[in-house]
């Protein structure tokens, strides 16, 4: 009888064994556009954007316009590891900023990616 109880207790204790994992990594440029910046359509120049944010991840021309595209990738993973149930969640956030300039290098429009409510 004692052995049965011991077995039962051992099983219950084992079922409570748990662990957790957590990691994150970033790649791409620093998302300085999330800091207070004063970019204004029609007056800010491409040089001012470069000074404020550094070199863009990509450059593209559309007709006579030029696009500076900035990207920062943030990956976080969290996990709960139990004996009978495990769950891991990995979220990749692509934080982006895009600036469109005219032929004279003056800002026509700019935009930042919308972040999910949880990551804002």
């Amino acid at each position: 009888m004692k052995m049965i109880y011991q077995t039962l207790i051992a099983i219950m204790l084992t079922s409570f064994l748990s662990g957790c994992v957590n990691y994150s990594r970033d790649s791409g440029v620093e998302n300085l556009w999330r800091q207070p910046q004063t970019f204004t359509n029609g007056t800010t120049t491409s040089q001012q954007v470069l000074t404020a944010l550094g070199p863009p991840s990509q450059v593209l021309s559309i007709g006579k316009k030029t696009i500076y595209y900035y990207l920062k990738e943030q990956v976080t993973r969290e996990g709960l590891i139990l004996l009978i149930y495990n769950e891991t969640t990995e979220v990749s956030v692509f934080d982006r900023a895009m600036f469109i300039f005219d032929q004279q290098g003056v800002l026509v429009d700019f935009s930042y990616s919308k972040l999910a409510a949880k990551t804002e």
């Binding site: 595209y69 769950e87 692509f94």
Partner: protein, 184 residues
């Protein structure tokens, strides 16, 4: 004696339950803002509502903004071998839910075409054998884990122009169709 037998049966049942386990692996790539349906006239309105796009493509007389997010759920069911339960056999399958917004503009910036779509696709199923304390991935999702093209773009510009297939100047000057931004 009967009591003992019942107890043994209960313990055996609990042990059987313990031999099985399940895991849920969730992944989220990107985020597409949920907005009520709207009819933009130009790219300025799209940028205001949707933010910076995931990808931009340039054609001869048009350009495209694409917004794309993928949510992957991979539930798994594991079985352990009695008396050898340090190893676990796992069956898993993955399903992806996509949200995609597509906006095409003329070079003047006016909307030519737009389309939004949401769909679900099966990414496959598989099995694995692993340690019971480890959550193994049973579906190959390597294509989602490669470095983003945007983060490789600068490096590729440094390639020797005599060795590469085409010059990147053609892409920068929109002489050749290419997609910038995310590539999943």
């Amino acid at each position: 004696m009967l009591k003992r037998l019942i107890l043994l049966q209960v313990i055996s049942f609990i042990c059987l339950l313990m031999l099985t386990s399940c895991s849920v692996i969730k992944r989220q790539y990107g985020h597409v803002e949920t907005v009520p349906a709207f009819s933009p006239k130009d790219y300025h309105q799209v940028l205001t509502k949707m933010g910076a796009p995931d990808s931009i493509a340039v054609l001869n007389d048009a350009f495209i903004f694409a917004y794309h997010s993928v949510a992957i759920d991979e539930p798994q069911f594991g079985l352990a071998i009695p008396s050898f339960d340090i190893f676990k056999f796992t069956l898993g399958s993955a399903t992806a839910v996509h949200h995609y917004h597509f906006y095409a503009f003329s070079l003047q910036g006016n909307v030519i075409n737009l389309q939004t779509n949401h769909w679900q696709s099966a990414l496959g199923d598989s099995s694995s054998i692993g340690l019971i304390f480890v959550v193994e991935e049973t579906v190959d999702l390597a294509s989602f884990e490669v470095r983003r093209a945007a983060n490789l773009w600068g490096e590729r510009l440094l390639f020797d122009t005599n060795l590469i297939e085409f010059s990147f100047e053609e892409i920068i000057l929109a002489k050749r169709l290419d997609l910038i931004g995310q590539d999943y």
